[in-house]
């Protein structure tokens, strides 16, 4: 593709004054050559409602060398990027969740013929989780105490953490638990000696 020098000088130089992004919070990760492009962008009407300019919007007017008023940061232009709203909305809420696919973990119970799976995300606290487990497997767990664990229970809930150690459910704060829990095992109380049961 041939490019004459004059063309390049004239047009490329003209484009040099063109824009980077319309003001963002994060520092631009651009090569030095583009660093000078950041300024002088004329704002689009949608993204700069407070701009005093009444002119018909246009991405750039480099011949005048106009300096745009700075558009509000993070202001998104209408209809850009060209993704249908249905698609955009699908992922808006999911973005905020650390684990998009749900936090499903296996739950085994001593003596039960097969395992179950539950989504830890659904529960907000230990009592909720334990109640759900009680319902699922039809047993009862006693009360938890820091000193004595699940004293007097026929069954004791335990979990395997990231270090592959088996821990008693309830010792650590809920959020720490959900982020470190890999699977659950409901142990028979008789086996649970040493985990804080009498």
């Amino acid at each position: 593709m041939e490019r004459t020098d004059t063309y390049e000088r004239h047009h490329l130089k003209a484009t040099e004054l063109r824009l980077g992004l319309p003001g963002t919070d994060e520092p631009q990760k651009q090569s030095p050559a583009t660093a000078s492009i950041k300024s002088n962008k004329r704002a689009l009407p949608e993204s700069a409602k407070d701009c005093s300019s009444n002119n018909n919007s246009c991405a750039s007017d480099v011949k005048d060398g106009d300096c745009a008023c700075a558009p509000s940061s993070k202001a998104q232009v209408v209809g850009w990027p060209p993704v249908r709203s249905y698609r955009k909305n699908c992922f808006q809420q999911k973005k905020n969740e650390p684990d998009v696919s749900g936090m499903y973990i296996k739950v085994s119970m001593d003596g039960a013929p097969y395992l179950r799976k539950i989504d830890l995300k659904v529960y907000k606290s230990y009592p909720e989780l334990l109640t759900a487990l009680e319902n699922m497997f039809r047993f009862t767990i006693g009360e938890y105490s820091e000193k004595e664990g699940y004293n007097g229970s026929e069954y004791v809930p335990t979990y395997e953490d990231k270090d592959s150690d088996w821990m008693l459910v309830g010792d650590v704060p809920w959020d720490m638990f959900t982020s470190s829990c890999k699977r659950l095992r409901i142990m028979k109380g008789s086996e649970a000696r040493g985990l804080g049961c009498v």
Binding site: H11, T15, N54, V62, K74, V83, C90, S101, K117, V122
Partner: protein, 607 residues
């Protein structure tokens, strides 16, 4: 197509028999003139001509051929519903069985056009209900349809077989209910990317009780709860069902039950591919993998609206046969994709999210040697977000998928070199749509505009008919397009160009240009004037947030009386500014045989 099944219509057969017979012997009056004979022969031949472009040519030969063609055309295609009035269409074509209507321009999808602009189906359904009682198929794209329209459709066409609605709105589940209950011969009900209102009507329950003739039921865009048991029963009594696309409210357990009832499916949309709520007490883990194994004919897979990665292996059994896979709602990682894609040797169409990163695309390139169409959508569709895919992925695809014909690629950064490489590696490209999401982004390695990349595409891809450009672009890019893009029919431009010359290059250089959509680019009245020789050959021109004045647009309207020139405000602007301002925010113009429409809302001025 119904043409294969039907014989030439009864009228024509009778005509042939009665040639030379006494007039008034029943049926149509027959003249024994040789012209008539020729016309009848022609009609019998033209039955077999299906291409509308060929038919248009045939109709231009002479009056006799025009008549014969108009009597034998079965499918009526109207690319712009305002280009012709319903009355004119039905006066010319008397025996239509299939109607295709397109309404709003594509930029309406991105909220650039105020709502209630038009493209109403109502006048069309009213006219065709009277004129084409034997209508069997309707395909609508970007039209506004009401429940009343659907009800009229359902009761007016006793032989109605296929309804396909793409990107339409204005109707709800109550309209669907009427369709389901009244269209007894319904074979195809495809709802694709429509906005469907939830009227809380259980439309699935409205299908007739006996065996249906359903071949295709696509409702993945209908975000309304359905009665699953009734859906299951419907699938069970639809032995011809080949295509089923469920909405995201169908859980994976429910999917399992449907799949085992319909192992003959060729196209499946899986719904959520997740549990919709806490695992029920009675549900065991569904053996979803075995359900997939049983579907030996599956070639097209989509859905995965809320995918749980653990279930991905369930689809392995069908991967080897898949020709189409749509993961564009599945937020999966590169690793998760790799486990699937390595089996998909026959894949021709692949839609995916950029969550798979360049690495995921490299895996696609390594396996999918037959790939024809690729679409990479952004998880985070904002300008300044992290870009998980880049020129690396594009380059890999170009090197691995040499047969590529169509690409849509969203990214945050790109280089000319990668685009140039693609232009060389993929000479079969027909559609090239690159969206660099940050406006005016240059080549992120060299800092130069993206002119050379797009220039290479138009130069090297000699079959290119559709192009969408983005990134930092000067008039040079447009010069390339005008100079090399001789087959381009659709061009999409945003935030590009330096001056009027850009648009001039394109309007003067691209003889096949049909659809031109431009936003936020510095093109003014002078540029607009340079297309006067071509506008009658185009379906439409859209220009928003450019540099047009009312005066400039008015001039076009005067010079081209058969062009409808609509100008309007975007919905972000105030009314008070209207009167003061000579600038035009949105210009939408198109040719029309019937002059300006009479259903234009107040925010539209027709010059």
């Amino acid at each position: 197509m119904s043409e294969d099944e039907e014989k030439p219509s009864v009228d024509l057969a009778d005509r042939n028999v009665r040639i030379g017979g006494a007039p008034g012997s029943g049926g149509e009056f027959q003249s024994p003139f040789p012209d008539q004979v020729l016309e009848n022969v022609l009609e019998n031949v033209l039955i077999f001509l299906t291409s509308r472009q060929d038919r248009n040519s045939v109709s231009l030969v002479c009056k006799s051929w025009y008549r014969a063609e108009s009597m034998t055309r079965r499918e009526l295609f109207i690319g712009n519903c305002y280009a012709v009035s319903p009355r004119r269409a039905i006066e010319r074509f008397r025996r239509i069985r299939s109607l295709v209507l397109k309404g709003k321009p594509r930029f309406a999808d991105f909220n650039l056009m105020p709502p209630d602009w038009g493209a109403h189906f109502a006048p069309w359904v009213t006219a065709t209900a009277a004129a084409y009682p034997w209508l069997e198929k309707i395909y609508l794209k970007r039209m506004s349809i009401t429940d009343i329209d659907l009800a009229l459709l359902a009761q007016s066409f006793p032989n109605f077989k296929e309804l396909v609605l793409v990107c339409c709105d204005g109707f709800g589940t109550s309209g669907l209910a009427v369709l389901a209950s009244k269209c007894r011969h319904l074979r195809v009900l495809d709802l694709i990317e429509d906005e469907v209102a939830d009227d809380e009507v259980d439309w699935i329950s409205c299908f007739p009780e006996n065996e249906t003739r359903l071949e295709s039921l696509i409702f993945d865009c209908v975000d309304c709860a359905i009665n699953f048991e009734l859906l299951e029963k419907l699938v069970a009594r639809s032995p011809f069902l080949k295509k089923l696309r469920l909405n995201r409210l169908v859980s994976i357990g429910q999917l399992y039950h449907l799949m085992i009832r319909a192992p003959q499916l060729t196209h499946l949309g899986t719904g959520s591919f997740s549990h919709t709520d806490i695992v029920a007490q009675t549900d065991q883990e569904p053996d979803i993998a075995s359900a997939f194994s049983a579907c030996k004919s599956l070639v097209c897979l989509s859905g995965f609206r809320e995918i749980i990665a653990d279930y991905i292996p369930a689809i392995y059994p069908v991967c080897a046969n898949l020709t189409s896979l749509n993961f564009s709602y599945a937020n999966i990682t590169a690793e998760q994709l790799k486990s699937v894609i390595c089996h998909c040797h026959k894949l021709q169409t692949f839609w995916v999210l950029d969550s798979v990163h360049d690495e995921g695309l490299e895996a696609v390139a390594a396996t999918c040697k037959d790939l024809r169409e690729l679409r990479v959508f952004p998880v985070d569709a904002r300008e300044d977000s992290e870009g998980p895919v880049s020129e690396v992925g594009l380059l890999a695809i170009s090197e691995g998928c040499r047969k590529l014909q169509s690409i849509l690629y969203f990214c945050q950064r790109m280089t000319n070199n990668a685009v140039i490489a693609m232009s060389r590696n993929c000479p079969d490209l027909v559609v090239f749509r690159l969206c660099i999401m940050g406006r005016h982004r240059p080549d992120h390695v060299t800092g130069e505009p993206m002119d050379e990349g797009f220039g290479a595409i138009v130069k090297n891809c000699k079959k290119l008919t559709r192009l969408a450009i983005s990134g930092l672009l000067s008039d040079r890019a447009f010069w390339y397009i005008g100079h090399f893009g001789k087959l381009i029919r659709t061009l999409s431009v945003a935030f590009a160009g330096n001056s009027d010359m850009g648009l001039k290059y394109v309007l003067e250089g691209c003889p096949k240009l049909q659809k031109l959509e431009i936003r936020d680019s510095p093109f003014g009245d002078s540029a607009l004037r340079s297309g006067l020789h071509h506008y009658y050959n185009m379906r439409f021109l859209w220009m928003s947030s450019c540099r047009l004045s009312r005066q400039g647009c008015q001039e076009i309207a005067w010079r081209l009386p058969r062009l409808v020139v609509e100008i309007m405000r975007g919905h972000t602007r105030d009314r008070e500014e209207d009167e003061m301002d000579d600038s035009v925010e949105i210009l939408y113009m198109y040719r029309s045989l019937d002059g300006p429409r009479d259903d234009a809302p107040t925010f539209v001025s027709i010059l």
